[in-house]
């Protein structure tokens, strides 16, 4: 083989390997993310009862897909497709009556909290607990994600009432 052709083949192979490694490193490890999610639970506190909710529980209640706006302090607003469960359906599944609650306080593992009115929770297709964004699991705090779970209020166009890294939901009077 001509020396020039051999050199070009070598460069091509090196570049191919570099691109392949780069893609592999950046590709989200779906199985790993799913495993993390399966081990993660949300603590629901209502009427002096405690419930631990995991991925399988959410799927049993019934996952749905919807579109919502993500607007962060460093990015422009963009629409994304989310997979999750309506919070009102979760409450209904555990037979939690909101008659005596004025609000629900949702907290993340970073100690962030946000309060939602019972009215906005009971509104159809409005408040969701999500675990996928654009088909990918949200990822954990450690790997730069906003999951495993995040709450989303669809009516909130500025997305500043979301609770990422969600770990706790409490019904308050």
């Amino acid at each position: 083989m001509h020396k020039k052709s051999f050199a070009v083949i070598c460069i091509f192979l090196c570049l191919f390997v570099a691109v392949w490694i780069s893609l592999k490193l950046n590709q989200p490890n779906i199985e790993e993310q799913k495993k993390l999610l399966e081990n993660s639970e949300i603590l629901l506190l209502a009427n002096q009862q405690e419930y631990l909710i995991g991925l399988n529980d959410l799927m049993e209640i019934g996952e749905e897909e919807f579109t919502s706006v993500l607007d962060t302090s460093s990015t422009n607003p963009t629409n994304h497709k989310y997979t999750g469960v309506q919070l009102k359906n979760i409450l209904s599944h555990y037979q939690i009556d909101l008659d005596e609650s004025s609000a629900l306080v949702l907290s993340g593992m970073d100690n962030y909290s946000v309060a939602y009115t019972t009215e906005e929770i009971l509104k159809n297709n409005n408040v969701y607990i999500v675990f996928k964004e654009d088909g990918n699991y949200l990822g954990s705090k450690e790997n730069g994600g906003r999951g495993p779970y995040e709450s989303i209020v669809v009516a909130d166009d500025f997305s500043n009432r979301r609770c990422k890294w969600l770990t706790r939901i409490e019904c308050v009077k």
């Binding site: 001509h2 020039k4 052709s5 070009v8 083949i9 460069i11 091509f12 570049l15 191919f16 570099a18 691109v19 780069s22 962060t72 302090s73 460093s74 004025s102 609000a103 306080v105 970073d110 100690n111 962030y112 909290s113 946000v114 309060a115 939602y116 009115t117 009215e119 500043n160 009432r161």
Partner: protein, 344 residues
């Protein structure tokens, strides 16, 4: 030879794809480095020079003729350094620099001319003084209430009650947004020290007045709207719009009246409605002024219940923007707010 040409072509395509993947980051870095933010010079009344980038080294007095005892240099990382007007300004690719006493301060975004430097950080020290004296204290944060709004409201009789307790103008912090201003008020430190620079920061590097109160075995409560803004040492009491009137301040006010009768030593109340209306209608719009009047009434009523001193200030100001208002720039409208203190 033909195979070789195909390989070269494929190599070029893959190289392009590979380099293209890195391109977005490079572009971002390039764009960021090209962001030449100029410096704004302001006093308590107006902006004297806006977004100025010196082409060559210039003495400050050549730029601004107005004399004042002191100036404070505000940098992009939130530091504030008080000095005299004997400074030189220059610029490079990183922004505006100031040279004084053989020191160079880089990334300068603002210069504030003043005789006395008052800051929203004073709220921390005033509250601490009361706690040290075993006195109860209430701190009220009027989100987005600018000095200009206060002056306009006072002139037009929208704020008759709290204007009696006006103490001085106060410098907010850079970036003038809620997280940074709120953190400065409760920690007594600027963002370069407390670590809260803008809306993306929630954790503080230093302890707040709540930690101080707890260390003194005092009872403290923080009344917030529906979002916990900072990771404070005490959990805030969150509120929602229970009566669906598109406003949460009324619910916060009801709680404030209730806890004012309790045994709290430190009550921190965060009203949000002035900021909401400033954004929606403009800082001096009729809707905003009427709301300031409503808040003035809230504070008068709280004063009749609360048997202790009250400190009032704002996290940031507000400037007119399109049909409404905005904030977040190092300009007089956003950086200066009023400071009130009602003794017992």
């Amino acid at each position: 030879m033909r195979i070789s040409k195909i390989i070269v072509l494929l190599t070029l395509i893959i190289s392009n794809l590979f380099l293209g993947g890195c391109g977005s980051e490079s572009k971002l870095q390039k764009n960021n480095s090209l962001e030449l933010n100029g410096v704004t010079v302001f006093n308590k009344d107006e902006n004297l020079v806006k977004n100025y980038i010196p082409k060559e080294k210039i003495h400050f007095k050549e730029l601004v003729k107005e004399s004042s005892k002191h100036i404070s240099i505000i940098t992009g990382d939130g530091s504030v350094r008080k000095t005299t007007a004997d400074i030189y300004l220059s610029s490079n690719s990183n922004g505006v620099n100031i040279t004084y006493k053989d020191k160079i301060i880089s990334n300068v975004v603002g210069i504030y001319l003043h005789d006395n430097l008052y800051s929203i950080r004073d709220a921390f020290y005033d509250a601490k003084e009361h706690l040290d004296s075993d006195e109860k204290v209430m701190v009220i944060l009027l989100d987005g209430f600018s000095l200009n709004q206060y002056n306009y409201a006072k002139k037009n009789n929208y704020i008759e009650y709290i204007s009696k307790y006006y103490k001085n103008e106060a410098l907010s912090v850079y970036t003038p947004v809620t997280n940074a201003g709120f953190a400065a008020i409760i920690t007594g430190e600027n963002p370069n020290i407390n670590g809260v620079h803008d809306r993306s920061f929630r954790s503080m590097n230093v302890e707040s007045m709540f930690a101080y109160a707890l260390s003194k075995k005092k009872q403290a409560i923080l009344l917030e709207a529906d979002i916990k803004i900072l990771d404070t040492e005490i959990e805030p009491k969150l509120h929602v719009d229970s009566n669906n009137d598109k406003n949460i301040d009324d619910e916060i006010f009801e709680t404030a009246k209730s806890v004012a009768k309790d045994e709290y030593d430190l009550i921190f109340v965060h009203f949000h409605g002035i900021d909401d209306r400033g954004h929606a209608y403009g800082p001096q719009a009729l809707e905003t002024m009427n709301y300031i009047k409503q808040i003035d009434g809230y504070i008068q009523e709280l004063s009749s219940i609360w048997n202790g001193p009250i400190i009032l200030t704002a996290d940031h100001g507000m400037h007119k923007f399109e049909d409404g208002g905005s904030h977040g720039s190092c300009i007089q409208e956003d950086m200066l707010v009023p400071y009130f203190k009602k003794e017992q």
